[in-house]
């Protein structure tokens, strides 16, 4: 029973650790499917986490925090869009700029406003998104396996967790079953074809970039006011880049993206679990090694195991009419 509990704990923690990755990965999916590469996912998550933490602390409401997080992230997304869509700037450079601005701005504004060395004030429970208990979860907690899965793994997460998973089929449906999705994919593959078919390439790309901003906003908000009780400096810790890796890994498809994020979340959960625990035969594994596993895995898998990942054909290329 004890080992079952351990597994359940690791899986529950996998889900929690997956959520920011999943939001960010889906965010990147919208943007990159439209032909706008975005390595600024990390930065947008960070400003969103800061804005959400600050707004929730000041306004005493998690919903206000969410609004601030999403709004700030969308503003940064539009900045990226303005640079690379309207002015045809380099998408990588602009993304790097977003990351740098986010890193400096969140820390600086945090220290200036709150005087806590870059953190936002500790949030009270009513200022956060708290875990929800699914109906009947307590009643079935004693049932072995199935009951445990329901009560310990599926139940007990905040509303944002369930929303993140709901976004997966929703994103699939939007991309492959709606006019919006068809046009979004078209401008990412062959913008000239979309243009001649009467679709506004820049309009679609802005729409995609805004979708990306909204989802990054959710990712950041989750970090600071659901998973933690406040913003702390650099709290995204590279999750935006892991999400990008997951996106490539999933070949820009929503459902595989979820599995990729779950895999990276799982590795993270295992790494945390194994901290200081001696394993039979190998002893205590260095924490650093465990933390490096997602990156090593990404490089190894991208280097050959998953075959060639073909990004959207017009990705990274500003749309200019010929001549």
């Amino acid at each position: 029973m004890e080992s079952l509990d351990t597994i359940a704990q690791v899986l529950a923690s996998t889900i929690r650790l997956t959520i920011p990755l999943l939001f960010a990965c889906l965010a990147g999916l919208y943007s990159e499917r439209s032909g706008v590469f975005d390595i600024g996912l990390e930065g947008k998550m960070l400003v969103a986490a800061f804005a959400a933490g600050a707004a929730a602390a000041v306004g005493h409401s998690p919903w206000l925090g969410l609004l601030a997080g999403v709004g700030t992230s969308v503003a940064f997304a539009l900045l990226h869009g303005f640079a690379v869509i309207t002015h045809r700037g380099d998408q990588i450079v602009s993304g790097v700029a977003v990351n740098i601005i986010a890193l400096g701005l969140s820390a600086q504004l945090g220290s200036t406003w709150f005087g806590l060395g870059g953190q936002t004030p500790q949030l009270q429970p009513e200022e956060r998104f708290l875990p929800l208990t699914l109906p009947g979860a307590d009643a079935v907690a004693g049932v072995p396996v199935l009951g445990q899965i329901y009560s310990q793994i599926l139940s007990g997460h905040s509303i944002l967790v369930y929303f993140a998973f709901a976004m997966v089929p929703l994103t699939w449906w939007v991309l492959f079953r709606t006019r919006f999705g068809l046009r979004l994919r078209a401008v990412g593959e062959n913008p000239a074809a979309a243009d001649t078919a009467g679709v506004s390439v820049n309009g679609m790309r802005y729409a995609a970039v805004v979708c990306c901003g909204v989802l990054c906003g959710f990712a950041g908000t989750y970090l600071s006011i659901a998973q933690s009780a406040g913003f702390s400096r650099s709290m995204t810790a590279g999750k935006g880049f892991i999400a990008l890796a997951a996106l490539v890994f999933a070949k820009w498809q929503p459902v595989p993206a979820m599995w990729a994020c779950l895999l990276f979340g799982f590795l993270d959960a295992v790494a945390i679990r194994l901290q200081g625990t001696a394993l039979p035969a190998v002893g205590i594994l260095p924490v650093q090694l465990m933390q490096a596993v997602p990156y090593i895995l990404t490089v190894a898998l991208l280097a050959g195991f998953i075959g060639r990942a073909t990004p959207p054909k017009a990705g990274g290329v500003p749309y200019v009419k010929e001549r």
Partner: protein, 508 residues
């Protein structure tokens, strides 16, 4: 031309367009009668495509008006043109490759936020259109998996699905086999019978004569003449296009070929994805002989050129140059150039020139180790410029400024720069890919003469071209490639139909 009776389907008045210093359209006026096929011919850069892109809303004219069926229309973007009943089939197809045919057709005309309704409607409508015009296409196949001829049908259906009454076709036959082109012409004829108006842009005079009712000739941004096709001849049109007398036929004296220069035996090669593109190709070329490789683009010609130029490794087979086998491990472009084997690549933008380099830097490309140009590893700029000037005079490259960037020359002059670089080295074997692609008639005439001169000087020439007319005019022997194989050999006097069947892989 004055149009009597009903209002012109399309009436362009005083269309003017500049791109920086280039005056692409100079106050062009053009009226097109409804229910006719109207040809527009002109050399590259004459302004045909610009004019049509303005009509389709892709560019906006600086001045001028557009009337459709007698009423003035503002066309600011493609959706305006579509709403006005204009459809366009671009030279480079405007298709989203991973999308299915159905998805491509509905893109931009989905008829609702959810796709399902639009897709169902399109399926029915496409089946009807396909039957009506004898253009069946597989609706659920990704476009990337279709042959170019079928992709073109998708483009036409796309326009018809949007209710186009006027269909603009920009160089539609460049990518087609002769039989596919015939099929296209039958479709266009049917469209005309149904009262549709077709604007047909081409530089092939034969096609103008075969299919159009009226023809307008463009030169340097102006329409220099519009006539009923029945009343004109190819020769008259060519003269209008170029503005002087041109010879459409190449003079070529008979010449007995000498000893074998290049002997290719059972050559096979794959492309970058590992697909076999060249299968057991064998042929020889002798001194003083032009061997032409005909075929629809993408049947292994590019890979053949690349292997022979030392750019691509062969999978198997032997290549003998002057009877000496070339070791595949040590065959690279530099070694081949040392062996006096010159290569004019198919795509001058991608391989022939560095567009941002000056003409003189480009003319030493591949020969940069020549001590005349780079003594002790340093560029001797005077010697290089003098050498380039000489080549520019010999090949009539204009403007004759060795310091000018390659991208600032016209297509024909860029091509002449590449030819000058390779021809002036006195090679024994010349490997030439698409020598006149995107080149104007005047320069074509010049390039053809030069190729014949090389042959007469005893060089062995391999000519790969998708222009059947070019192959027939120049080659002493014609090899036809299909699906990576040489499927037949003919003399230059073989009929077009005969070669066309070979190119389509039907006959052998």
């Amino acid at each position: 031309m004055s149009v009597s009776g009903p209002a012109a389907a399309i009436d362009l008045k005083g269309i003017d367009k500049r791109f920086g210093a280039v005056h692409a359209n100079k106050a062009v006026s053009l009226a097109i009668a409804p229910g006719t096929i109207h040809g527009i011919v002109g050399e590259n850069g004459a302004g045909k495509s610009t004019l049509m892109s303005i009509l389709y809303g892709f560019y906006q004219a600086d001045a001028g008006e557009i009337f459709i069926n007698g009423a003035p229309r503002k066309i600011v973007r493609p959706s305006d043109a579509i709403a006005a009943g204009i459809g366009m089939v671009h030279q480079h197809f405007m298709l989203v490759e991973p999308f299915t045919v159905l998805e491509n057709v509905v893109l931009g005309a989905e008829g609702g936020a959810r796709l399902i309704g639009g897709l169902t409607k399109a399926r029915t409508e496409l089946q009807r259109l396909g039957d009506a015009y004898n253009m069946s296409v597989p609706l659920d196949t990704p476009v990337s998996e279709l042959a170019v001829g079928v992709q073109q049908r998708v483009e036409i259906l796309k326009a018809l699905y949007r209710g186009a009454d006027v269909l603009i076709l920009d160089e539609p036959t460049g990518v087609l086999t002769p039989s596919e082109a015939d099929h296209l012409f039958r479709v266009l004829d049917q469209l005309r019978h149904q009262g549709k108006t077709v604007i047909f842009i081409t530089h092939k005079l034969r096609e103008i004569m075969a299919i159009t009712d009226n023809v307008s000739v463009m030169r340097r941004g102006e329409i220099v003449g519009t006539v009923a096709t029945k009343t004109t001849t190819p020769q008259a049109l060519a003269e209008l296009m170029v503005g002087r007398t041109v010879r459409l036929k190449v003079d070529k004296a008979a010449r007995a070929p000498g000893p074998v220069v290049l002997d290719v035996r059972e050559l096979s090669a794959t492309d970058n994805r590992g697909t076999t593109r060249l299968r057991d190709v064998s042929f020889t070329i002798r001194e003083g002989e032009i061997v032409g490789i005909a075929g629809v683009a993408g049947n292994g010609q590019s890979e053949l050129l690349e292997v022979l130029a030392g750019i691509r490794r062969r999978a198997s087979g032997e290549i003998l140059l002057h009877g000496q086998p070339l070791d595949p491990a040590h065959t690279d472009p530099a070694k081949l150039r040392e062996a006096r084997c010159a290569h004019v690549p198919e795509d001058r933008h991608r391989m022939g020139l560095v567009m941002s380099f000056s003409a003189c830097e480009n003319t030493i490309l591949g020969y940069q180790d020549d001590p005349r140009f780079t003594p002790h590893g340093l560029l001797n700029r005077t010697a290089i410029a003098a050498d380039t000037s000489g080549k520019m005079i010999a090949f009539d490259v204009r403007p004759g400024n060795p310091q000018l960037r390659a991208s600032l020359f016209s297509g024909g002059n860029q091509q002449k720069l590449v030819l000058a670089r390779e021809f002036e080295r006195d090679p024994t074997l010349l490997i030439v890919g698409q020598p006149t692609r995107g080149v104007d008639i005047g320069a074509i005439e010049f390039i053809h003469k030069r190729l014949i001169a090389m042959r007469d000087a005893g060089k062995a020439v391999l000519l790969v071209s998708v222009e059947l007319d070019e192959i027939r005019a120049l080659a002493d022997r014609v090899l036809v490639m299909f699906d990576g194989r040489i499927v037949g050999e003919r003399g230059p006097d073989a009929s077009e139909q005969d070669l066309g069947l070979l190119m389509a892989g039907i006959a052998s």
